[in-house]
Subunit: 435 residues, 2 copies
């Protein structure tokens, strides 16, 4: 017989929990025989005392076991997904899903909503009129079978204990814990019935993980958990000090993604998207080299096949596919668009992702509590990129707002977000490491 | 505005909480705007990260502020109480209350129930037919005014947040935390409207605190919190490796206490009781020296005035006062009393309080969960004391049981609890330190 408080005490005292103890606790939490307050005490003990790799893997398995695994047996292409730990302007999923599908990978992607300064893929896609993110598991697999890619929200049948635990962690100060993050991400992804997984672990002031050591530990943990479950997992660690791309805000990021799929690629966004997509190809097609895979991604982009998958995915998820041709007309627009000019000449040496994220939150483009509504239209576009030279009077960014007072607050936050220098900054790759 | 999870995160990160933050959290918990799971996460963070002395004092005040303070203004004698951190066979309160009252101290004692291997004063007193422990605050003060002493249970009006928090700590692995124990004890005692307080901090294998450093830290914390609130507090640290006295079990301990008040005093039980009572006298009568106070206690005992106060207290609390004259007839008796003989000659060098406590628990004399009922009649009597020489065949103890299978289990637990040696053990004072 397993007594919940004995398990809490064991972890509190820094001891290692057994597979049976972890299973019993998570199963009890899922079945509501273990109340929230005992789970909260255990989560805090895990936060402060850590978990070994084995415990983290057991926790992942235990959370998976509270739900089902997606049945992808009807898919003929190899099944792979990518997960990002989240950042500012991170619209990689919207572009990578269709590109990977165009290169022969089936992508059943379960995504999340934005919380705090970090945007969410579902919120972005829901800017598209009619787009449904609440598909059933069967509908998800059917859309992947037809179009190659499908992006939906978490369902109640896949790892339900995770959804419950995530909500609890959010209000008990137990979110930024490496074992808890690892198990939360991996139990969801491993429930997708994947053959391989690519992780994009963000590090920097616009990311969850502020320092490289932590990001490495998280990446290593997730890779090991995947391997333990016989699923090849590759991880990239990428910089999230500046926003990814020129647009931040839900509808604005969809428009940028569509422009991107039409060939308008540049900078860090392209570097991360291309590398993650190419890695999905090499993991699922072991005979393909990383160079060959990169070439395939380039071809999928320039031939327009990526855009076509995106269009078909939108159509299959009941969104209006004409958004690909007329994004400005079909996506929600803010009532006020203001150009904010530079007041001096100089090289862009820094753009603070954290400040940009906060500004979009203030505009109404994000949420501080999970039950809040968001404004899809607002945000920032035409943001200058690090390494560009600009002249006084040239716009630093366009501010899209629906409330003048919020716009003022956002501009204040952005006042010092962009740093101009006298000389061009050193060019750095956005990808720091590959695991 | 105070966000509960920010307070949790602050403590999680090892930072010091402010008076306002602690007040807001405890008040919110009391008013149920802060749920159990947030309190549980904070309690675990406090357990693992500790609290400064100032934080502990703020926590004590915040818990007191959720209730009222006992109005002792109608009492003409100085008001003082004693609190023990609990041990095996610890019936000091039952004897000390009446003796202190006989020496001119008013004792409005709020006691607890037993949990785990530690006995509870209320459970013991409830062995007396009719004895009520659920008096109102007004009745409590009235009994003290009439008899000098009254022993009752925690009421809902004094420090209600403590009662709620204690229940939560019990099931979340957050009981043995020095700041949480300090605040829990002190908020209850400081709500009694005392002029002074004596603490008996137990240390040893039959106590909560297993090592002296911890016991010292707890004692120092409580003394400082009391002084902060302008209440003189003295603390004794006393050994709890062997049970206190020859009887362990509820009715058996009442009988031992009555015998004791009739003058049958000996050993460690007398040493602790006499010293705690004398300290209550010196704290409330600054002109009395400790030697004079000890003499007063001896006189109160040998004159029978202590027993008379006990008798009047029992009567005033609706118990049968004849228990003082006929304890064997009026207290519940177990169906089976067995003498367990020694199998060799020797000096008693050790009696394991933890094993004795577990044996009484198994017999049904204690509870493992707070809602369990207990059997007042069962337990152990005639237990040999450290330093006694016994012969083979002489009883080591008498086992009082109402179930033969439980008796067998208890005897097994006691099998190695009593150690006989070839020579007399060194005689040690049960009181280790005075603060």
């Amino acid at each position: 017989m397993i007594i919940p408080q004995w398990i809490i005490e064991k972890k509190r005292d820094g001891l290692e929990l057994s597979r049976d103890e972890i299973n019993a606790f998570i199963d009890g939490y899922h079945r509501e025989t273990i109340p929230d307050y005992q789970m909260a005490a255990l989560a805090m003990a895990i936060y402060l005392k850590g978990m070994s790799f084995e415990e983290t893997a057991f926790l992942t398995e235990a959370m998976m076991a509270t739900g089902q695994k997606l049945d992808t047996s009807s898919l003929t292409l190899p099944v792979c997904d990518k997960h990002s730990t989240g950042g500012i302007g991170d619209k990689v999923s919207l572009i990578l899903g269709p590109l990977a599908a165009a290169c022969g990978v089936a992508v059943p992607m379960i995504s999340g909503r934005g919380l705090g300064i970090t945007g969410g893929t579902l919120d972005k896609l829901e800017s598209i009129p009619g787009y449904r993110t609440d598909l059933s598991e069967e509908e998800l697999v059917e859309v992947v079978r037809k179009t190659g890619c499908c992006i939906v929200g978490q369902t109640s049948r896949l790892a339900p204990a995770d959804k419950k635990l995530y909500g609890l962690r959010d209000v008990t100060g137990t979110v930024p814990s490496i074992p808890l993050i690892t198990a939360s991400i991996m139990c969801k992804k491993m429930s997708e019935g994947l053959q391989a997984l690519v992780l994009d672990v963000k590090v920097g002031r616009g990311a969850f993980m502020k320092d490289l050591d932590q990001a490495r530990e998280l990446a290593r943990n997730m890779v090991r958990v995947g391997r333990q479950m016989n699923t090849p997992v590759a991880a990239l660690i990428s910089r999230m000090d500046a926003p990814l791309g020129r647009c931040i805000g839900n509808a604005l990021e969809v428009k940028e993604s569509i422009d991107f799929l039409k060939g308008g690629v540049e900078g860090a966004l392209w570097e991360v998207t291309r590398e993650c997509t190419a890695t999905m190809i090499t993991l699922t097609h072991p005979d393909t080299s990383i160079e060959q895979a990169r070439t395939q991604v380039d071809e999928a982009l320039h031939s327009g096949r990526g855009l076509e998958v995106f269009r078909e995915m939108v159509r299959a998820q009941q969104g209006d596919p004409d958004v690909c041709d007329h994004p400005d007309r079909l996506l929600p627009q803010a009532s006020d668009i203001e150009e904010i000019p530079a007041t001096s000449d100089g090289w862009v040496v820094d753009v603070d992702a954290d400040a940009v994220g906060r500004a979009v939150l203030v505009l109404g483009g994000g949420r501080t509590r999970s039950e809040e509504n968001i404004d899809h239209a607002v945000g920032i576009s035409h943001l200058v990129q690090i390494g560009e030279h600009i002249h006084s009077g040239h716009p630093l960014y366009h501010l899209h707002s629906n409330h003048s007072d919020r716009a003022e607050k956002a501009k204040e936050l952005l006042d010092n977000a962009i740093t101009l220098g006298d000389s061009a900054p050193k060019s750095e790759s956005v990808i720091i490491e590959r695991l």
